[in-house]
């Protein structure tokens, strides 16, 4: 797995974000919601971006897609997509990329699909915009083909239906078909794509993602708060806390040995079931996520950290590269890693 | 936050009264301006008779159509009656009608709106009636009512009430329907709260904002409708001075004595503006969420 991850890193990545800082304009001055994030997604790689609400993960995705809300702006950094810096490309060209070479699968397709238009119309419209050379009959054929590919039964009949006539799972499949219909998608950004779905449907959709990613050789940035979803699908994981990446690692390494106290806290707090632990206290991270507007000195996680020492409150740690392509933003990661390695060896 | 430590330094000292008033005015500017204007208007109608004690009904053949001057600050009309006194007395009649009509509208509108939002069986009857009243153009309906009942102050109040109560019913009803299945309402019910408690404490406060807006609009419209009816000769019967009646009388003299129309026109505008400001200000103040978003 380690060799796998590093192989991916050496090839030039589809998406390479460097030092991205995004702020919301506010009366009291700009509020930074994404702070100096470095993240790359290699060819054919599924990268999971984990974070809680307010961590900045969704704003990060919208910055890549060039669809930031009006009150937000990129303060600095570089968003390189297939080698070209999207911040230097005119907005019209970024718009050309969207839906064609990079696409979004949203959390709740009920709000992203147009409720007044039939499914067929919405699918063919994407082709009209990005592939005008395709004739209308071929467009319909392509739409049916895509619906079939994403596992929608009776695809021909679905074209005439409206979004509200479909179940949540089917709507999410249609949204995926829409994202892929141009056939040139290099980067798929999925923002909490299964959060609104039931578990049996979630399992189907996640399976579809993994299958499509292999078939189409595309890259996926999977944004979620659910560590289970990440463990089941991602190859590499980036953990975001209060606008910063605190840890980036291969999925096996991260779950086997989290380096950052926040990641460790999250993983420990998940109920694992089993008779021995039933009704016992779950380990938990005390306190709440700091407001992005609050002044920050030192490590953003320091207030809630069980391993806090003096320096954590004074100096902000940098995202440090460790061995085997991992990185972590913690003053004490090395020391903690040794300590937990000993503990794990004993138990 | 959870540990409950509150250091003494962090407890702010209680600001002085004047300071708090200034803070309040700064955070609710529209409401403050509207209330200041309304206070001025009320003071004007209460205090002016003491300062300028001229009988609004006394006719003077020698002093007719006089422009504003020392003796008659706002001039006189075609019968030589003092315009300022008539404006003041007319104001008290207009305000009385508007206050009475608005109070009636508030009481019945809120009660009927809540009941019809909560109980579908009652809703069918109430909504049918109030919707059919809304079909008529406002002034036409008022004219019909006054034609049937005859011109009098009470009947003007009734006409304005009938005109505006459906709007308040609809506003309150819409809020009740919007919130009756809301989570916080379900939560209150699951605590054991009665229908009345849920309606009065949990749902109605959500409707106060829009209801206040409707009522303040209703209040200002009451002044306008009363003026319109008086203008048409259907208001409080002469010689009682009303703002609308004054404008109506000034019609013929608009070229020779424009002050006769300007003064009542200006005061109607002033009254309506003050109430609209109060309505908007109340809406902003009563919804803590909109306030938080604004800060």
């Amino acid at each position: 797995m380690i060799s796998d991850a590093s192989a991916v890193l050496t090839a030039s990545p589809v998406l390479d974000v460097r030092d991205l800082t995004i702020a919301f304009r506010h009366r009291a001055g700009p509020v930074q919601v994404v702070r100096g994030v470095d993240l790359s997604v290699g060819h054919g790689e599924i990268v999971g971006l984990v974070g809680e609400s307010g961590s900045g993960k969704s704003i990060f995705a919208r910055a890549i897609l060039g669809t930031l809300p009006r009150q937000a702006e990129v303060l600095e950094g570089k968003i390189a997509f297939s080698g070209s810096d999207l911040r230097r490309v005119p907005p019209s060209e970024v718009r050309q990329l969207r839906g064609d070479r990079m696409a979004l699968v949203p959390q709740e397709p009920m709000t992203s699909l147009n409720p007044a238009l039939r499914i067929g119309r919405q699918l063919t419209e994407v082709l009209e915009v990005h592939r005008p050379e395709i004739g209308s009959a071929a467009r319909t054929a392509r739409a049916i083909e895509m619906l079939d590919l994403v596992g929608v039964n009776l695809p021909g009949e679905r074209l005439a239906q409206y979004p509200h006539q479909l179940s949540g799972g089917l709507r999410q499949r249609v949204a995926i078909a829409m994202a892929l219909i141009c056939g040139r998608v290099e980067l798929l950004i999925a923002d909490e794509p299964t959060t609104a779905l039931d578990v049996t449907i979630q399992a189907q959709i996640l399976d579809l993602f993994v299958r499509l990613q292999e078939q189409q050789r595309m890259s996926v940035l999977l944004i979620t708060h659910d560590l289970g979803v990440i463990a089941q699908t991602a190859q590499r994981v980036a953990v975001m806390y209060a606008g910063e990446l605190v840890e980036v690692a291969g999925v096996n390494e991260l779950f086997a040995m989290p380096h950052h106290p926040y990641t460790r806290g999250l993983l420990d707090s998940l109920p694992r079931g089993g008779n021995a632990a039933r009704k016992s206290h779950l380990p938990s991270i005390e306190g709440t996520v700091p407001s992005p507007a609050a002044p920050r000195q030192g490590c953003a996680f320091a207030d809630r950290c069980a391993f806090r020492v003096d320096i954590c409150g004074r100096r902000a740690p940098m995202l440090e590269a460790t061995t085997s392509g991992r990185s972590v933003r913690c003053h004490r990661w090395q020391e903690l890693a040794d300590r937990f390695a000993c503990r794990d060896a004993v138990t | 936050m959870i540990d409950g430590r509150v250091s003494l330094a962090s407890v702010p000292r209680r600001p002085a009264l004047g300071e708090r008033l200034l803070l309040w005015v700064a955070s609710n500017p529209m409401l403050a301006i509207g209330m200041a204007m309304l206070t001025l208007l009320v003071l004007f109608t209460l205090l002016t008779p003491l300062l300028v004690p001229i009988d609004p009904l006394s006719i003077s053949a020698t002093a007719k159509l006089q422009p504003p001057g020392w003796e008659h600050p706002l001039g006189t009309d075609e019968l030589g009656r003092d315009q300022l006194s008539r404006l003041v007395v007319g104001g008290s009649i207009s305000l009385r009608i508007a206050i009475a009509a608005t109070a009636l509208t508030a009481v019945f509108g809120v009660a009927l709106g809540m009941v019809s939002g909560q109980y579908p069986a009652i809703d069918i009857v109430v909504s049918q009636i109030s919707d059919s009243l809304l079909i008529f153009p406002g002034v036409v309906l008022a004219i019909m009512i006054l034609a049937a009942l005859g011109p009098s102050e009470l009947n003007v109040i009734i006409a304005v009430f009938v005109l505006y109560v459906p709007r308040v019913i609809r506003t309150v009803r819409a809020a009740v329907i919007e919130y009756r299945d809301a989570d916080f309402v379900q939560a209150a019910r699951s605590l054991g709260a009665s229908d009345l408690r849920v309606l009065a404490l949990h749902i109605f406060p959500r409707a106060i904002g829009p209801t206040m807006v409707q009522l303040s609009l209703g209040f200002s419209s009451a002044i306008l409708v009363e003026a319109g009816l008086s203008f048409l000769g259907l208001g409080a019967p002469p010689p009682a001075p009303t703002w609308g009646g004054m404008i109506s009388g000034a019609r013929e003299y608009i070229r020779t004595a424009p002050w006769m129309m300007i003064a009542p026109g200006a005061i109607i505008t002033f009254a309506v503006l003050s109430l609209n400001l109060i309505g908007d200000g109340l809406r902003d103040m009563l919804d803590p969420r909109s306030r938080a978003a604004g800060q």
Partner: protein
């Protein structure tokens, strides 16, 4: 096992139908169909299932927020009739509810102090002078300081709001709290705090929970008994230890293998079931048969009854007996 304690709440044969108007036609949906449950004092009964299975409707029937079309509720040995206001009041004092969405379930124009005081005044449990003190006590028992009483809900974090919801629910010293997905709207790092709080309160106050959830790992952690619902019916009911060791119903099995395990070494290879829940798709036989990988002819002919396969373990599946042997599972489901 010693002799079983008398149940705190016994619901039998609960049924609730809703009329749905869609495209001009009126359809009837049976949200809860002949459901019987028993709650043991001090224990947690978890209801598990996906959206549309009727678990939230069941919660509303138990708390009397909705009236059942058929069935009976017996609380603490007394049958509950909701005809009289005083009886309903008495019932709601004993049975409280915590809702899923901490943002929507607190009245936005109430301050926290008034929110927590409300159950006290509805049930006349504290004099006007004692209310403040009692509110502070209740807030402290859910881990909140008294200074929070002056705040509005929108000034609190999600976790704090859910603590306030729980504070309201325990204010009347109830014996049963119905929790409808109480942590699923919360951030991951806050969830375990709230779960721990619920566990503490259960231990300290001897509360029973009817715990509605879709999160199997969480249910495994907190439940004593598990009921799985599918399209309005209970399809499996068992003590948690038994259920999680060896679920018998194919749907329980599917739920379990669909839940994403936070461990990349245990990846699911293929989704356990295809298709989606469709209300009204099946009128005869087992409701799960159109998605069931093990369906046979018999499943189309008759609706399987909820029968015991072991003491305390009930399963509604024609093939429950065969499924007790592992061979069939591994052969068909991998």
């Amino acid at each position: 096992m010693s002799t079983p304690a008398p149940p705190l709440l016994q619901a039998s044969g609960l049924r609730k139908r809703y009329r749905l108007r869609s495209a001009g036609a009126v359809r009837q949906i049976t949200a809860v169909d002949d459901v019987s449950i028993q709650l043991v004092p001090g224990q947690t009964l978890a209801i598990v299932g996906e959206s549309g299975c009727g678990k939230s409707t069941l919660a509303k029937l138990v708390t009397q927020l909705e009236t059942a079309d058929a069935g009976e509720l017996v609380f603490d040995g007394r049958p509950i009739s909701i005809r009289s206001r005083s009886e309903r009041l008495r019932f709601s004092r004993d049975v409280q509810m915590v809702f899923q969405d901490p943002y929507g379930s607190l009245t936005p124009h109430f301050r926290v102090g008034s929110l927590v005081a409300e159950p006290l005044s509805v049930h006349r449990l504290a004099s006007a002078t004692a209310v403040r003190k009692r509110v502070a006590e209740i807030l402290s028992s859910v881990g909140l300081g008294p200074e929070i009483a002056g705040r509005f809900p929108h000034e609190l974090s999600g976790g704090q709001r859910q603590r306030v919801s729980i504070a309201r629910a325990i204010a009347t010293r109830p014996r049963l709290i119905v929790c409808d997905e109480p942590v699923s709207a919360l951030d991951v790092s806050v969830r375990s705090q709230i779960v721990n709080l619920l566990l503490d309160l259960q231990r300290d106050l001897g509360l029973s929970y009817l715990f509605i959830s879709h999160d199997l790992a969480l249910v495994d952690h907190i439940a004593d008994t598990v009921c799985v619902m599918y399209l309005g019916r209970i399809v499996e009911q068992a003590p948690a230890a038994v259920f999680f060791a060896a679920p018998r119903h194919p749907y329980s099995r599917a739920l379990m293998s669909s839940s994403p395990v936070p461990d990349p070494r245990r990846r699911n290879n293929a989704p356990a079931v295809q298709g989606e829940v469709e209300a009204g798709a099946i009128s005869t036989g087992c409701r799960f048969r159109n998605r069931c990988p093990l369906a046979v002819d018999r499943c189309a002919q008759s609706d399987p009854p909820l029968d015991p396969v072991a003491p305390g373990h009930l399963v509604a599946c024609h093939r429950a007996e065969e499924l007790g042997t592992r061979a069939l599972w591994t052969a068909q489901l991998g």
